[in-house]
Symmetry: C2
Subunit: 412 residues, 2 copies
């Protein structure tokens, strides 16, 4: 692309302790064209790392299948990478290919020689996985085989590569006890052991992440790999200091019932003047975090790598919110101009339950959370209003019913 | 096959409470051409059930790939089914196809209309799954997708079909606390819940069973399916009252390092006059059971079906044995004519550990165990001696190394 020698218009941030104290590392961001992968790649690039992105571009194909688009327009991956170099003078290497292709995975690692890989490259929608049998099987094969190929490639190319894998808080479900970070000490009939925290995932997507977690833990134990599993909460927000540098650097903003996360969906409903649709009682409580905290957490994991043979789990969220409390905050942020409407819950889940989950490990490493506030909601409302003409209201009501084995969705 | 009207030379066993008290049910045995699936099908047929077997015949292809054969010759599936009718007058329906083909699974269930399915149709060797990346991926895709297809087919054809699924005690690993049957009550920070027992499986095969267990539990909860997960120990033995009725009814006897289970392997080594190769210290302790108890356990699960929406786990074994204790019993059964040789453990596992696992649920349902004895070992030695000319000694030493990502095995 020839832009490597262009002037550096945006310097690396001067408050960055890493550029001062730590050598830059080579980081491959798998799923680097996605909602979180792309901003993560930019963040790490600006912080001085040599960054490569790997993506099959399948997320864009899901849009075509669902008949919906990101509320905020996004540039092609080729243009994104070019724009990044134009704006910052920094280069990002791009690899287009599928993680389920073992040769692609191995040759990409051998070519880029990363110190770490950040693995976002999975189908990440629970409703998408619950559309029907084909989508359930696709989700589990895509996610599990991609991760297996990655584990083998790391073991064969360089077992010292630190795997930072995106899992989900949804792996735990909603047990009636406090959720710990990956492991729990159990005392039973007079003996004790620290064991993997029991998992009760609520969709074939969430199940695929549980399968991954077990596979990764085994590979770390058996081959001495270094692995960090980030059990992430629900992410909200769309802007980061890097994506706002140029319109072609924007990341996705999904508000549809299949790929949109709850707060983003409420914001778009509010912006379009529709009632906020709460599933069931709204007592469903989940860990949540700001998109900027996702980037910070990934960086903290990279800066403090797992030991050889270590499989560790960080619960990556900053606050717990119930769906109803979120809806009420959005109502307040609009000056009470909209209302809340309960709709039947399309998911099979507890609508009212105990929820308390530990999330201290990333704080201990130095995470400074951006907590959710009405002003953050108003900034999201402003994003939605800028792109109001692109809202397709029909995309918001739930279409995938957990209780059925086949739902009609999207363009079909 | 026209044999339905032949004379009934072997009656249903008169001591069978089921034929007296319970209506015959329609049972489909998936993996019905395999080591355990075939004897299970015969057992259920003789006990008055209408039985169908489903198999892709892939186990026979693994033999070709590994360059080894069952020690006891086995007839083709077509001939087996025909022989069963000739000997007993009972018919078994046979379906040849692959569980990863969703249309085959759904049409087979719709055609046979079972009351229950017994699901043995998985790649079941830990070493096979650890040969290399391709075999790991094959094992997980084959097992997980086959089971997903089955769950969808049950939900769509008839959600009342009772799924009896073969899992493994190896799902639990070797925790430092007592292993319970599927679930454990955990008290933590003043609160309690009954949660899935934490899993620490030791191979990509064992992991595939953990993935299945999570998927099945979810399907039961979400779609109201009835599911029994039989977490089975290591099975030994080769003869059942049905398989010995005619040579063409024999089931497999695997003694090779990839598919042979530990006691069968020791028996063949002893029979051929080789030392018994114990991996490492030999303190590895596992739940074990006689092949005849497998049949009884499956039948007990079928006779006492899970409730709608229930996912339950039975630990299906009768005794715990360490590898070294097994070897010493085989030495004694030969009159101390052979010796034990420690070889480096090709697996990554604790060679000396705590092991105590509950197994009361099947006993409570009426299981009368066949415990392991020197006389049982001597009967296995007699089987091995009858077929001594077929032993390929080169097939016995371990070839698959857990610590490597690629091992050379078999005919290659």
């Amino acid at each position: 692309m020839g832009a490597m020698s262009s002037s550096l218009t945006v310097p690396a941030r001067p408050d960055d302790p890493m550029t001062a104290d730590q050598p830059a590392s080579r980081v491959l961001v798998l799923g680097g064209d996605g909602y979180l992968g792309w901003p993560t790649a930019l963040h790490l690039s600006r912080r001085g790392h040599q960054v490569g992105v790997v993506d099959s571009l399948c997320r864009r194909q899901y849009d075509v299948e669902m008949g919906v688009e990101s509320l905020v327009p996004i540039a092609t991956m080729e243009r994104r990478v070019q724009a990044w170099t134009e704006v910052t003078g920094l280069a990002i290497a791009a690899y287009v290919g599928d993680m389920t292709d073992p040769d692609f995975v191995a040759t990409t690692l051998a070519d880029f020689r990363p110190d770490a890989v950040v693995h976002f490259a999975e189908q990440r929608s629970a409703p998408y996985s619950m559309i029907d049998r084909a989508h359930a099987v696709y989700t589990q094969v895509n996610n599990v085989v991609g991760t297996l190929n990655l584990l083998y490639a790391i073991a064969e190319v360089d077992p010292d590569i630190h795997l930072v894998k995106l899992g989900t808080m949804g792996e735990y479900g909603t047990p009636n006890i406090d959720i710990e970070e990956g492991f729990i000490e159990i005392t039973h009939r007079g003996r004790s052991d620290v064991l993997p925290f029991p998992k009760q995932p609520g969709s074939f997507y969430h199940l695929s992440k549980v399968h991954d977690s077990h596979n990764i833990a085994f590979a770390a134990r058996t081959w001495g790999l270094r692995a960090t599993d980030l059990n992430q909460g629900i992410v909200y927000g769309q802007e980061t200091p890097e994506t706002t540098l140029h319109p072609d650097l924007s990341t996705r903003f999904d508000y549809d019932a299949v790929f949109g996360t709850v707060l983003n969906r409420f914001v778009v409903q509010a912006s379009a003047g529709y009632p906020l649709t709460v599933y069931g009682k709204g007592g469903q409580t989940r860990g949540m975090l700001d998109i900027r905290d996702t980037l910070a957490c990934v960086e903290l994991a990279l800066s403090n790598p797992a030991a050889a043979g270590e499989y560790r789990v960080f619960n990556q969220f900053t606050e717990s919110w119930s769906v109803m409390d979120l809806a009420q905050m959005v109502v307040r942020a609009t000056g009470d101009r909209i209302r809340i409407e309960a709709v039947p819950d399309p998911r099979v889940e507890d609508e009212d339950h105990y929820y308390r989950a530990a999330h201290t490990k990333l704080l201990d490493l130095g995470l400074m959370p951006h907590l959710l506030s009405e002003s953050l909601v108003r900034s999201l409302l402003a994003v939605a209003e800028r792109h109001a003409a692109r809202i397709v209201p029909a995309a918001i009501p739930p279409t995938v019913d957990w209780r059925r084995t086949g739902s009609r969705v999207g363009a079909a």
